[in-house]
């Protein structure tokens, strides 16, 4: 694309930028953001993204309810969050401006599609006066760009109807931002050509809009300069930009490959878990069987049936779907068969916030079944970490013959980050260890098979899928006699079995790594400990407080049941323990109950991830309350007063 080479326009180097594309649900903002992200990834930037969209597929056009946004943070250094406040907001209409202007810091740049700022749209967005004219945006640098009219104009002679041409305006916005941040267009142009191969007019309109946006930046002389974000110093290797849901799906395929167990996914479509089904259904070349069941219960039921038959049975769900699966999880615990339940958490209760993130299913995963029904819980911390967490969850399920709950969430599911690809040969091998023959001799000296005769070390029972003569056996949801597996209602046996099942899960603590603590000097007095997708925000908050000279340690839990064996000792090493969570304090409750440590809970449930700034403020507040006070040279600027946390709630 020689016509988009750069002129002598001045370019400024910057270390990072946060851009937010916002428009109507039908405006293609997710697509624009995603393509910008891909171009940046190919340039070698570190990045993190945050798609933020409504539950309605197409809310009424032009309304606040219909605003869809995609935030991307690109950087020349290691970053862990999609950024707090955008440096640049692209607003395709008044509603997109109104919905997002509140999160901007003074001095931010706003680029609006001025064509959409007419009376009807202003009214629909609830503006009484035109914000572009009434001075209300004076704290920002505002660029008014006629995106719709230029997009329509450039496709006029291509035979595209104006109404259709207008739909390409997201590519105009992408072209403009690509110019502003010196991203080449080649990758996106190639993508458009492939994606719209069968629809020549659409392809042409999109390509023209993309280039027109780029040329506009170059020639309109609105912008003083463009900017460049250099590649980040990432560890050598091959990278892809990956979402949590894709990493989960690939983790399942990897687990199937590394265990030689055929993969069976039984599931029911639900936001935001469905993309795992979509991704897996594309990869039948791995022998993957995907089953879209009649309901959530049938999804997990079929997965359990597949496990009984010797496959890797998996179910995926979100929100209310996990409630529906509870009874089948209890059966799997009693049957002691491997099964993976992937819960991509979203805001609840009930239908709640289908497209918004939350981490409020931890206690449900722990306790959401009748009877004493423990199971291992594994949580992913970043989008790419979903791959590793999935493999680990499968390892535990297979080795201990137990259902395992893997917790992801809406933020991880749709967010992206660069992932350094592992060497396949380095991935763990998972041994199904199927039973191969009788394991017991009866009183008459005959070989027989006892389905509940346990491995002394792991307490796991044999996995004997149908097919081998001499191993025929019957299992079920009724209490069983230890060893033989025969139905047994005896109280003493029930107590024995209940304690055995608990001991089996508790014993996993010796089979997982110790707590991952980041406290290199070992002299920190405060520990910030979290789980799941708060990892990035906690890391950023801890780094900021360290930059102020404070000594703060960070730990992040991948295993939530059982906890790492050393966790109690780790917690005891610190004078204060802060537990940030996107719920009302569920991990805090578990830590207090388990270790009698009076942790400080820091929570928010706004459907969005924590911001680094609020994490920093919460840590500073705790330092303050702890009497640590400012370190020399740090006036604790920006630290909130205890009764006014910047965002989220601290409860002691």
């Amino acid at each position: 694309m020689s016509d988009t080479t750069r002129s002598e326009h001045p370019t400024q180097l910057i270390d990072r930028v946060v851009i937010r594309f916002a428009g109507d649900s039908g405006d293609g903002m997710q697509l624009a953001g995603d393509r910008f992200t891909t171009s940046s990834a190919l340039l070698g930037n570190d990045l993190a993204t945050f798609p933020d969209f409504p539950a309605e597929i197409r809310a009424p056009a032009g309304t606040l309810a219909g605003v869809s946004a995609f935030q991307v943070h690109i950087s020349d250094h290691d970053i862990s969050t999609p950024g707090d406040a955008p440096n640049v907001l692209v607003a395709m209409n008044p509603a997109a401006l109104k919905a997002n202007v509140g999160i901007l810091q003074p001095g931010a740049t706003i680029i609006v599609n001025v064509d959409a700022f007419e009376e009807r749209n202003l009214h629909k967005a609830g503006y009484e006066a035109d914000p572009l004219a009434d001075g209300s945006l004076s704290a920002f640098t505002v660029y008014e760009v006629p995106m719709t009219s230029i997009t329509t104009e450039v496709s006029k002679d291509a035979g595209v109807k104006p109404r259709d041409a207008e739909r390409s305006k997201n590519f105009f916005a992408l072209g403009l931002i690509s110019w502003l941040y010196t991203r080449p267009l080649e990758a996106t142009a190639a993508w458009i050509e492939e994606r719209y191969a069968g629809k020549t007019l659409v392809m042409e309109a999109n390509l023209r809009a993309l280039k027109a946006g780029f040329h506009f930046g170059e020639t309109a002389e609105l912008f003083e300069s463009s900017y460049e974000v250099r590649p980040a110093e990432l560890a050598p290797g091959e990278y892809v930009n990956i979402t949590g849901n894709t990493a989960t799906a690939w983790g399942l395929i990897a687990a199937s490959t590394r265990s030689s167990l055929p993969l069976f996914l039984g599931t029911y479509p639900i936001t935001p878990a469905s993309d795992i089904l979509h991704e897996l259904s594309k990869h039948k070349e791995f022998g993957v069987r995907t089953f879209q069941a009649e309901d959530e219960i049938a999804g997990i039921g079929a997965a359990l049936g597949a496990s009984f038959g010797g496959a890797l049975g998996v179910t995926t769900t979100s929100g209310p779907g996990v409630d529906l699966k509870s009874e089948m999880i209890g059966l799997a615990i009693n049957l002691e068969l491997p099964l993976l339940i992937i819960d991509v958490q979203r805001g609840g209760p009930s239908t709640g916030l289908p497209t918004k993130t939350e981490q409020a299913d931890l206690l449900h995963a722990m306790y959401g079944r009748h009877g004493e029904a423990p199971l291992p819980i594994v949580a992913a911390r970043t989008p790419s970490h979903c791959f590793e967490a999935t493999l680990e969850a499968v390892r535990l399920a297979v080795k201990y013959r137990t259902p395992v709950i893997l917790l992801s969430d809406g933020y991880l599911a749709n967010g992206t980050e660069p992932w350094r690809l592992p060497d396949v040969a380095d991935l763990p091998v998972i041994d199904p260890g199927f039973a191969t023959g009788p394991n017991h001799v009866d009183a008459d000296g005959h070989d027989e098979f006892w389905p509940y005769l346990r491995d002394e070390d792991t307490l796991a029972r044999p996995w004997a899928p149908p097919g081998l003569a001499g191993l025929e056996h019957r299992i079920g949801g009724l209490e069983k006699q230890d060893g033989t597996g025969n139905v047994n209602y005896d109280g003493a046996n029930h107590e024995h079995m209940t304690r055995l099942r608990a001991a089996k899960i508790a014993g996993i603590a010796d089979d997982i790594p110790p707590t991952d603590v980041d406290d290199a000097a070992g002299d920190a007095e405060i520990l910030v400990i979290g789980w799941g997708s708060t990892y990035g925000a906690i890391a950023a908050g801890v780094q900021r407080t360290r930059a102020r000279g404070h000594k703060v340690a960070q730990a992040h839990l991948m295993h939530l049941n059982p906890f790492p064996a050393d966790l109690g000792d780790v917690l005891a090493r610190y004078r204060k323990v802060l537990v940030p969570e996107v719920n009302l304090g569920q991990l805090s409750r578990l830590l207090r109950a388990e270790y009698l440590v009076d942790v400080v809970s820091f929570t928010q449930v706004k459907g969005i991830p924590f911001r680094a700034a609020s994490m920093e403020a919460a840590i500073l507040e705790l330092l303050n309350a702890d009497g640590v006070g400012p370190v020399p040279g740090d006036p604790l600027v920006g630290a909130p007063t205890p009764d006014q946390p910047a965002n989220g709630k601290v409860s002691h």
Binding site: F286, A293, A302, F308, G310, L331, R474
Partner: protein, 353 residues
């Protein structure tokens, strides 16, 4: 991939060996059968255990699955692989098993509460998908395990523990339901006729895809005699209408009754002497359109009128597990077997030196 379907049944060289001859005893587990004395379930269990040696199948490739209810204890008594699961969900569990293990014979044993009430959704979808399973539905028109509440097949005005003034609900007709759910094999038998049960089960097992068999089963404790008016020895010839493929539909000690189709398309029971043999409806199990089978399923309003038994429908449809396997094979043919390293690099990747 580990393919359990290829697991050695012969000492490991991969060539199948003839299934050893077995007897009923070989198919009986060592567990004491614990249904109430006199329960119809005993005769169904006996029929199945006696049939198995005749089917030429092996115990290790046979699985009995069940949900909850009296009938659901069935797997414990079969010396095969077995899974006694949770209420109503056996067809769902069976779907996962049968689609991943096409080498297995999967039987689902269920009752009128288990699969027509709590598990209704799974039943109709297993039938619609045509999963390769054989469903035996023990219909006793009552909840037995919970000690006597009305069920979805209980007649209107049924007085039970939970309906002391009579139930208000219209019952399901299980065969109509199965036919409406696109079942390819639909049959009815009863617990008083072992030979008829064995023959019906044999045909159900033979059918590739989902087979649905309703078994009128007497609960002698909570609903004794529910089917006595049609299955009692002295009533059978006049009250049971045997369906025989290719034969005129007729019954009675001398074959004196028969079924005709009226000019408005409805079915009626008539005396053969009045209409002549040629006017009788000829039964066709393999008719593609389920309409006539549906009408036959509704010929009797309840077990107090002449009631057809036997195979209502036996039609081949694509079987779900086989189709799923074929799709996997086709994709492998087209794309080659999956390569994990290539998958991970299938997006836009870049290299940092």
């Amino acid at each position: 991939m580990t393919d359990l379907a290829q697991a050695p049944i012969d000492g490991g060289d991969g060539t199948p060996v003839p299934v050893p001859l077995t007897t009923r005893k070989d198919w009986s587990s060592d567990q004491e059968v614990r249904w109430c004395p006199g329960c119809g379930d005993y005769s169904i269990l006996a029929a199945v255990q006696m049939l198995m040696p005749e089917l030429g199948v092996s115990r290790e490739r046979t699985v009995f699955l069940s949900g909850i209810g009296c009938a659901a204890r069935f797997p414990y008594y079969m010396n095969t692989y077995g899974l006694h699961s949770i209420h109503g969900r056996a067809p769902a569990i069976a779907t996962g098993l049968a689609t991943t293990r096409p080498d297995l014979d999967v039987w689902v044993v269920t009752g009128d509460g288990d699969s027509l009430s709590i598990g209704g959704n799974h039943l109709i979808h297993a039938l619609r998908r045509n999963v390769n399973i054989t469903i035996l539905l023990f219909n006793n028109q009552i909840y037995g395990l919970t000690k006597g509440q009305y069920s979805p097949t209980s007649e209107v005005a049924k007085v039970t523990k939970s309906t002391p003034f009579g139930s208000l609900e219209q019952p399901f007709n299980p065969l109509s339901l199965a036919l409406g759910a696109e079942a390819g094999f639909v049959a009815r038998t009863h617990d008083m006729d072992r030979k008829h049960m064995m023959e019906t089960f044999r045909r159900a097992h033979q059918h590739r895809g989902a087979s649905f068999v309703e078994i009128y089963q007497n609960c002698n404790v909570f609903n004794d005699g529910a089917f006595e008016a049609i299955t009692g020895k002295e009533h059978r010839s006049d009250m049971l209408i045997p369906l025989v493929h290719g034969e005129p539909i007729r019954f009675g000690a001398e074959g004196e009754h028969g079924v005709v189709m009226r000019s408005d398309g409805s079915l009626d029971v008539v005396d053969v002497a009045e209409v002549g043999e040629a006017a009788l409806l000829v039964h066709d199990e393999h008719r593609d359109n389920p309409g006539l089978a549906f009408q036959l399923s509704r010929l009797s309003r309840g077990p107090y009128e002449p009631t057809p038994v036997g195979i209502f429908r036996d039609v081949d449809r694509p079987e779900y597990g086989a189709e799923m396997a074929r799709q996997v094979e086709r994709v492998i043919e087209r794309k080659g077997p999956g390569d994990l390293g290539a998958l991970l690099r299938s997006g836009s990747s870049w290299t940092v030196e």
